[in-house]
């Protein structure tokens, strides 16, 4: 019962922050709302008993990616990035299409018979993730490192034009 209450609070918080991201007046505020949304998602992970994922979400998204985003905002806009809330003339069409998308997704989600896993989350879940990295998911593990290397080298090549 408390789980439902916690879920309700966390989902509302995440949704409000997500709404804030797209409607905020200044880009910096949008970034801060995004951080709030990341926290909300981390809370939802905790409700799913995926504690490692929740901590990873906070450490990587809130601790690293958010800083990257804010630095990128400062790099592209400079300080004092006060914009107006988008006075977009096509907002009517956008609203209609978004509503249609929402309806489609909602209907699809109700109709699909989601397979519910009855087994509880194992106690040594983290160890199993680690074992997975070396066993079943070895290739994605190594590919991830190559991907990170490529991102690093690419950014350095682009940014260090002296």
């Amino acid at each position: 019962m408390f789980l439902s209450l916690a879920f309700a609070i966390l989902s509302i918080f995440t949704l409000v922050c997500a709404l804030g991201v797209v409607t905020a007046r200044s880009v910096f505020h949008a970034a801060l709302f995004l951080i709030g949304a990341f926290f909300g998602v981390a809370g939802l992970y905790v409700l799913l008993e995926a504690e490692f994922l929740a901590a990873a979400q906070v450490m990587v998204y809130v601790g690293a990616v958010s800083i990257l985003i804010i630095f990128a905002i400062m790099l592209s806009r400079g300080y004092g990035a006060e914009g107006e809330a988008g006075n977009n003339p096509q907002w009517g069409w956008a609203a209609a299409i978004s509503g249609l998308l929402f309806l489609t997704l909602a209907v699809a989600m109700r109709k699909v018979a989601w397979p519910v896993v009855a087994a509880p989350v194992p106690k040594d879940a983290i160890a199993q993730i680690g074992a997975g990295f070396v066993g079943q998911y070895m290739v994605p593990f190594e590919v991830a490192s190559v991907l990170l290397l490529v991102a690093l080298v690419g950014a350095i090549v682009i940014a260090r034009e002296r």
Partner: protein, 386 residues
């Protein structure tokens, strides 16, 4: 009597469960633990404020505060009252929402870290499976708070200070995680109590001293204390990213630093000094709490000693030190620990390889540093004479 706090808690639990529903009991118990932790940390923070000023003063051959109470012991209380009574000025053009949110968030991270410190044999807020990871993840929340503070103050010095602060904080997060990784490999778990219990014959300080050194220095930089306190260098950036904060809002930044001291000292104690372990702990578990707090105090005193002794680093030196020295040493340590743990399961054989391995790594790193320092010293001399 041997396990006073735990037995008291059990007795209280039994009494209160007799007439309240289970969920309310959990709620009240958790609230009481949180309040107890808060009081404990505030007590220690007040002690640290006094200790810092006295210790640094003695190191600088002066007396330090000695007017307010015997030996100046009530000085922190006087400081708190002063900060409470100051006028809170919000600068023009500051972004009010973000400006007010920053001090709240900056103290949020360290306070959350309190919940997983193993204060005694059975005394821990929540022995999470991801214990140590939890502390590190929430430490990275403070970086956002720093950026918010710097940006919202509408002051270019604050913003500049915030950029430098964030660069420093993120650069030293990586070696910290690498040092923790070495410990986790040895333990096989991230839970704080497991890490303490794994240091059974010997503390990890003796098994991997270089990891301790890496962690110690990274934590020092994470707390932005001297010699890494460029961010609030009075002569350089006035007060860095919290220039425009006064009164209690400034007190939050100040408080966050000291709570962070306590938490990171507690983490260092857990990881490397054996936490609540010590002689006679199995017979008298109450001693465990005493050992933990004493070791935490020792770590904090070490950090304060370093503060009073060394000059400040320049920002490019600081960042180079993190990425070019600490990260490679951390990587070598992780690989070494992994190799040793794979090689043998015998504890003493592991120790026999790890300890020399650590010391060799430390020696090689210092040699390379020394050589580089000499080279750049000669280069500077050549440039000066040219």
């Amino acid at each position: 009597m041997n396990d006073l706090i735990y037995n008291l808690a059990q007795g209280w639990e039994r009494w209160i469960s007799s007439f309240l529903p289970a969920w309310l009991v959990t709620l009240i118990d958790d609230l009481l633990i949180v309040v107890a932790l808060l009081l404990l940390v505030i007590l220690f923070v007040l002690a640290f404020i006094w200790l810092e000023r006295k210790l640094v003063a003695r190191l600088q051959d002066r007396t330090g505060p000695n007017r307010v109470g015997p030996y100046g012991l009530f000085q922190p209380i006087a400081d708190t009252l002063k900060l409470l009574a100051k006028e809170v000025i919000t600068p023009d053009g500051a972004d009010k929402a973000v400006y007010n949110l920053a001090p709240v968030l900056v103290v949020f991270g360290p306070l959350m870290g309190l919940g997983v410190l193993p204060l005694g044999v059975h005394l821990i807020g929540a022995d999470l499976n991801i214990g140590i990871f939890f502390v590190m993840a929430l430490g990275s929340v403070s970086e956002i708070a720093v950026l918010m503070a710097g940006w919202s103050s509408n002051n270019k010095y604050a913003l500049l200070g915030a950029f430098r602060a964030v660069a420093q904080l993120i650069s030293y997060e990586v070696p910290m995680v690498l040092a923790v990784l070495a410990v986790v490999i040895m333990t096989g778990s991230m839970s704080m109590q497991s890490i303490v219990k794994a240091q059974n014959p010997l503390m990890f300080l003796i098994v991997m001293p270089t990891a301790f050194v890496v962690y110690f220095l990274s934590a020092n930089a994470e707390m932005a204390r001297t010699p890494f306190d460029l961010l609030e260098a009075e002569s350089e950036l006035i007060a860095g990213y919290h220039i425009e904060y006064s009164g209690m809002k400034f007190a939050m930044f100040y408080l966050a630093e000291y709570i962070n001291l306590f938490v990171l000292g507690g983490v260092a104690t857990t990881l490397f000094l054996g936490g609540w372990g010590g002689p006679f702990v199995d017979k008298v578990p109450l001693l465990g709490t005493f050992y933990f707090l004493a070791k935490d105090l020792l770590m904090v005193a070490l950090w304060m000693w370093i503060r009073g002794t060394f000059p400040r680093f320049r920002i490019d030196h600081m960042l180079s030190f993190a990425w070019k020295v600490l990260v490679p040493v951390g990587v070598v340590l992780v690989l070494l620990t992994g190799f040793v743990v794979w090689l043998t399961n015998d504890y003493w054989l592991q120790l026999a390889i790890l300890l020399p391995g650590n010391l060799v790594t430390l020696w090689v790193a210092l040699e390379l540093l020394g050589r580089d320092a000499r080279k750049s010293g000669e280069r500077d001399k050549r440039l000066a004479l040219a």
